[in-house]
Each structure stands twice: as C-alpha cells, then as structure tokens.
C-alpha cells in the first residue's frame, strides 16, 4: 500500500536542507550535536535577510506611491486654478460645441466647483473647532463655532437643491464626490443612519438617556431611508413598465400616439426624481439638527470632528486609489 510516511519525507527534506546549509562535516557526515543550534541560527539569518529585502521593496513601493501622489496633487491644483479662472470669466469649456449639452454640463460643473469650495470652507471651520477643543476653550466659545459648522452644513443642502433642479442626474451620480465616498452613495449623498452608527462608537461616554435618544434617531433615520428607497424602487419599476409599454410594432398611427403618450408619462416620472433627492437631503439635514439637539456642545464638537475625520479618510483613500501604480 502506497501510504504517505511523514517521517521518511521529513527526514529526506531535512537532509537536503542541512546539506545546503553546510552542516555536513566532510569527515563526520552529519554533525548532530550542535547541528540543530546552527540550523536554527542559519534559519533565523535567512529569515532576517528576507525581512530586510521585503522592507526595502516596501520602501521603494512607498516612494513610488508618494511620487505619484505628489504629481497628482500638482496636477489637481493646476486644474483647480484653471477652473477658477474659467468660471470667473464665465467661459464654459465644452468638448462638444452643443448649446443644450453645455447648459446642463454647466450646471454640473458649477456645482462641482461650488461643492469644492464648500468642502474647503467646512474643513477650515472644523480645523478651527479642533483648535478650540485642544486649547480647552469654554462652552460659550465652542457653541459659537459648532453652531457655525451646523449652519454651514445647511448651505450645502441649499446648493444641492439648486443643483438638483439644474441636473438631477449629476447629483444622483455622485460624480462630484471622490470614488471611495461614492461607494457609500445613497440617493445623492450620505446615509444619516451610518453616520449615527459611527458616532455611537466615537462619542463614548454618553448618558443612558443620550444613548437611547441617539439609538432612536438612528433607527428612525434608517426607517425613513428604507421608505425612500422603496419609493425609488417603485419609481424605477413604474418607469420600466412605461418604457416597455411604449414598445410594440411601429408604423400604425395608434402606436405613434401610444409612443408619445408613454414618453410623456415617462418624462413625468423622471420629474419626480428631484423630489426624492430633496426628501433625502431633508432627511440628512434634519438628522444633523436632531443630533445637535440631543448632544451637549462639547459632544457636538467631537461628533463634527469625527465625521470630518472619517470623510477625510475616505478622500485620502480615493487619492491613494487613483494614484496606485498599475503594472
């Protein structure tokens, strides 16, 4: 019976290894007494050498990443400056020359630029908040800065609402966010319930009452999100049925009328998309306001800082991803 005999195999391998490591003394064959110590040292030395090599390769890779990041950053600054200049001059740089396309494209571009500016201002405010917290600022001073950040949040919802009127599909696409942020896109923005989940872990200690309130808020937020998601699904289904209803054999005048009617209906349905985005943004805005009401000033400060740190991480991840070396 051909059975695997581990002992035989191991001893054979061991012998080959020991030979390679020069443990075979020419006159005495395998030197047994201190062979095991020597083999352990040799194995350790080999492992250390491999580690050094791996570390060296890792350093080279890191250097390459950083170089890519630097050049991407420079390119980005250049592009931002160009955009600023173009916007100030009211020029829209369009690849096609088509008027109607450039109109909606203009809305998207304008929003992207405005959003970029909003993010910069938001980051500045949160830096100010971080400074105040680390300098042990009093509650009064903290409250002013915190209220400022919350009010500034409302700005972006207003900007998004205008953008959704101009180009709802651009807002829905999330192309104005970085790739990693887009992973988590829900109805053109972030999920409030996820944000609250993050905060529950980051904001300890919370009083029993606060924990309950935040937990409740997270649950109601999730329920509202689910309801809106179901509404969107119903919209998609309804739209699909309408388009399908417009199919059928062509040429008869009845069918042309049918086609026009169905297309008109489909247009109406697409029109309701803007309402859904607005509802979703309202949900986000109100969740933030409720959260602010439940927490103390100091906790609100920590919450806003945590949210900002989390978003910054996602944006950094996106940059790394975009700059990754491709073989």
């Amino acid at each position: 019976m051909a059975e695997f005999s581990p002992r035989t195999d191991t001893s054979t391998d061991g012998e080959t290894e020991d030979k390679a490591l020069g443990l075979y003394n020419s006159s005495h064959g395998l030197v047994v007494s201190d062979a095991s110590d020597k083999s352990r040292d040799q194995k350790t030395l080999r492992r250390l050498a491999q580690n050094r090599e791996a570390a060296r390769k890792s350093r080279l890779r890191k250097k390459a990443y950083v170089q890519q990041l630097e050049s991407s950053r420079m390119k980005l600054t250049q592009l931002e400056q160009e955009l600023q200049r173009a916007r100030q001059q009211g020029i829209f740089i369009s690849s096609s020359g088509e008027q109607s396309q450039s109109m909606s494209g203009n809305g998207a571009l304008a929003f992207d630029v405005e959003y970029g500016r909003w993010v910069e201002e938001h980051n500045r405010r949160v830096s100010e908040l971080k400074g105040a917290v680390s300098n042990h600022a009093g509650d009064g001073e903290l409250r002013i800065i915190v209220d400022g950040v919350v009010a500034h949040y409302e700005d972006i919802f207003r900007i998004k609402s205008d953008a959704a009127k101009a180009d709802v599909f651009h807002v829905l696409s999330g192309m104005w966010k970085t790739p990693a942020e887009r992973c988590f896109l829900w109805l053109g923005g972030f999920r409030s319930s996820e944000l609250l989940k993050l905060l529950i872990t980051q904001l300890e200690p919370l009083t029993e009452q606060q924990l309950l309130a935040i937990g409740n808020l997270q649950q109601t937020s999730q329920q509202a999100e689910d309801a809106l998601s179901q509404g969107m699904e119903a919209l998609q289904q309804s739209l699909a049925e309408t388009i399908a209803g417009s199919l059928g054999s062509s040429n008869s005048s009845g069918n042309v009328a049918n086609y026009m009617g169905q297309m008109a209906m489909a247009m109406g349905k697409l029109g309701t998309l803007e309402g859904f985005i607005r509802q979703a943004d309202n949900l986000r805005k109100q969740t933030l306001q409720q959260m602010h009401r439940i927490l103390t000033t100091r906790q609100s400060a920590r919450a806003l800082i945590a949210i900002n740190d989390y978003s910054s991480r996602l944006r950094a991840l996106s940059s790394l991803w975009l700059a990754r070396p491709r073989e």
Partner: protein, 99 residues
C-alpha cells in the same frame, strides 16, 4: 369633504394615495415598517375626492395622511414628524401601534 372625513375616521391610520405616485409608496412603506397597518384609499379615478382633499388643505393632494381622524401632513411632513419622534407618539395615541 364629508366622505373624506368619514373615511379618515374609520381607522386609526388612513392614507389617501394615487397608484402612480411613488412618494405615496414611500409613506406607505414607512407605515408598514412601523407596523401601523394603515387603510389605503386610491383616488386615481376619483377627482371629487381629490378636490375634497385639496379643499381640506392637503397640498400636495396625495399622499394625505390622517392619524386619529386628523390630517397630519404629506410626505415631507411625515418624514419630519418621524425624525423628531412625534409620528410614533401620534400613532400610539391613536392606537395604530402599541410601542
């Protein structure tokens, strides 16, 4: 007008909808999720009912949500009420749900 009020008082939670309205679908989904089992009345083929709803101040006419016989709002209002906890409270008071 009376027909609306009459229907609205028959059950703790009553929602007037249109089958083509996806916002109505969202609100229905929310009520089901809360376990409220609302009574649904579609007004697609009932322009009189829709007019009556508008006259009562329902804007937009659908979804028109009544809890405990009282109009509490349309889609946007319901979400706000839910977020600050008052929707659940109203539903509990009207015995549409128990917790």
């Amino acid at each position: 007008m009376d027909r609306v009020k009459d229907l609205a008082s028959k059950k703790a939670a009553v929602i007037f909808t249109k089958s083509s309205c996806c916002r109505c679908h969202s609100i229905k989904a929310l009520f089901y999720d809360l376990g409220a089992s609302p009574s649904i009345h579609e007004v697609d083929h009932d322009p009189d009912m829709e007019r009556a709803l508008r006259r009562l101040g329902c804007n937009p006419s659908v979804p028109a949500v009544f809890v405990g016989g009282k109009y509490i709002g349309s889609a946007k209002d319901i979400i706000s009420l839910h977020l600050d906890g008052s929707l659940k409270k109203k539903l509990i008071d009207a015995r549409a749900i128990w917790f």
